[in-house]
Symmetry: C2
Subunit: 339 residues, 2 copies
């Protein structure tokens, strides 16, 4: 189904989701045109995957980001990066993905096309084949342009058994780069805030970061700090381990633009999403090796050791002024629809 | 994560999607409570699947049905049956599923709980483990209660190589039961039509039907006629084969209630969705054997041979009055959001 046609409509209508001629044309002119590969067969109900050696891993994620396009990415590339990153931090190499599309009636076809092209590029750059998909159209006023869901299949790589439960007292916490860029870029892209800046989202594949540390002994756990940001990952670690997390504020990389915007609007960057960073927990003896490994990569030049695991049962931030403050678990949503 | 808590909130808020405490509690009290199994780990970014022997198949589907609960099912059971049926008609036995949830702010928690319970029951009845999930909450007025997406993984079973391209002149078309029940039941469940009836959706697993015909020689192709109904599957066959489809109206099983409602509202039941039927194409010599096989099952008692493949390049219906009429490819959406 790789035939291409000129698109003769400007906006998506309900008929593009009805299973009939318009839906077929939408699939042919947009989805198959950009996403086609040998495994994808838009005429079959299910795709047959080539044989895979090794431990198969699976992850899924939904995407509702607003605006659909933002500096540094769009919902299409984000839907690929988000799910591939969940596989990557679990120690897997992503291979295949499925895509669900929920389009709101009235979406501009040209915007949909840009987003699908972006999705295709992100998949191709990361050697991921889109193997199955489904399209639904919802009536105007019952969606918000476009929601996506992707499910990824990968193969576990390396010898690490990553598990949040392996974390112990004395382990070090390392972050691969500045936090809060994605959340702040999304904020700036929303007209409601009336602010503009040059800041780009950090949305990207973290696979180079997670694969680079495959040979680092003592690696216990990795996670990408998305919704709820760095602070939320710290709470997940605290709750799963029953231990304490102790962070050094002056060690946490935060861009000046991010800090400035957060100060003006009253947000805490530690709770804002990243979409291209990794937090790793590694034993004390190997923390410097992991840091050096990341700092050699373009994606990890600003990596830093930001804290440690201790006997407490709270998440504590040692401030630049030398005091200590508790980082509470996130309650109110600071910023809906950032991913 | 199987601990259970009392639910202390009545409606879903944006904070239930923010990655923080409320989202964790929602996952614990609703999703983990009903969907837990040994493979699901709500603390990990990706699930590790047990070893699978054989050809892995994958399928994905989105669900936007309105109303969320209807006679014979709800969006929860539908989301399991829909994706498992896509695997089943491709000749696979479903094993694992992932679930994406898009909740509109304001949804009643009690309704969400009923739907997740229904999803859990449908999965359990079909030996499917939910292995990963993701929850997003969208602001009020940007959704419609609940949208779901499921992705299923199965193993190819049997020796058939099912492919729409295998279809040849003389092959017979068999349907496993009455068509249009689901679409009509959804219509009746919508208050806008001001009609009520006892009709139930046919939404169900078709796995017993697809597995029963594993030993039937000459089986070419199966599909579940969902969006766009029987007529749309006939057009898919016509287009993929380049041959003609010839249907006998008096052979097509349609319930009296379905025909009556369609006559009153001006719908054609051949274009209305089923969610628990299978259409099979089988060579002429084996059509009676396949029919007998289905008729022995509770799900297939009303199965019928409804047509044949011929040299034409159209979909033609021979009417009960003895005339012929073309069944056009579906264009306008007769009934949005039926699945």
């Amino acid at each position: 189904m790789t035939e291409t046609k000129d698109i003769t409509w400007a906006h998506i209508s309900l008929a593009h989701g009805n299973g009939g001629r318009y839906m077929r044309e939408l699939i042919e002119t947009i989805f198959s045109r950009y996403l086609s590969n040998p495994v994808l067969n838009t005429q079959a109900d299910a795709a047959s995957l080539p044989d895979m050696e090794g431990n198969i891993m699976i992850s899924t994620d939904g995407f509702t980001v607003q605006p659909l396009e933002f500096p540094g990415g769009d919902i299409g590339s984000l839907s690929i990066h988000g799910t591939l990153n969940d596989l990557a931090v679990a120690g897997a190499i992503p291979k295949y993905m499925t895509v669900n599309v929920f389009i709101e009636e009235g979406l501009e076809v040209s915007q949909l096309e840009r987003i699908v092209q972006s999705m295709a590029s992100a998949a191709k750059e990361n050697n991921i084949a889109i193997v199955a998909g489904d399209t639904k159209v919802v009536p105007k006023g019952q969606g918000s342009g476009l929601y996506l869901a992707t499910t990824g299949i990968g193969i576990k790589s390396g010898q690490h058994t990553l598990n949040i439960k392996n974390i112990n007292i004395g382990d070090r916490i390392v972050v691969s780069g500045p936090v809060g860029d994605h959340g702040t870029a999304i904020m700036l892209a929303r007209e409601e805030f009336g602010m503009h800046g040059a800041l780009q989202s950090d949305a990207a594949s973290v696979l180079p970061l997670t694969q680079a540390v495959d040979s680092i002994a003592g690696l216990k756990f990795m996670r990408d700090p998305t919704r709820g940001g760095l602070a939320t990952v710290m709470h997940e670690i605290q709750q799963a381990s029953g231990l304490g997390v102790y962070l050094y504020e002056e060690q946490i990389p935060i861009r000046d633009e991010v800090q400035t915007v957060c100060d003006m609007l009253g947000y805490d960057p530690l709770y804002l999403a990243c979409e291209g960073r990794v937090v790793a927990v590694v034993d004390d003896n190997n923390a410097e090796a992991l840091l050096a490994c990341w700092q050699q990569l373009p994606q990890g030049q600003e990596a830093a050791i930001i804290g440690k695991i201790n006997q407490g049962n709270q998440v504590v931030l040692r401030t630049t002024l030398g005091g200590e403050r508790l980082l509470d678990e996130l309650e109110d949503d600071p910023l809906p629809r950032i991913c």
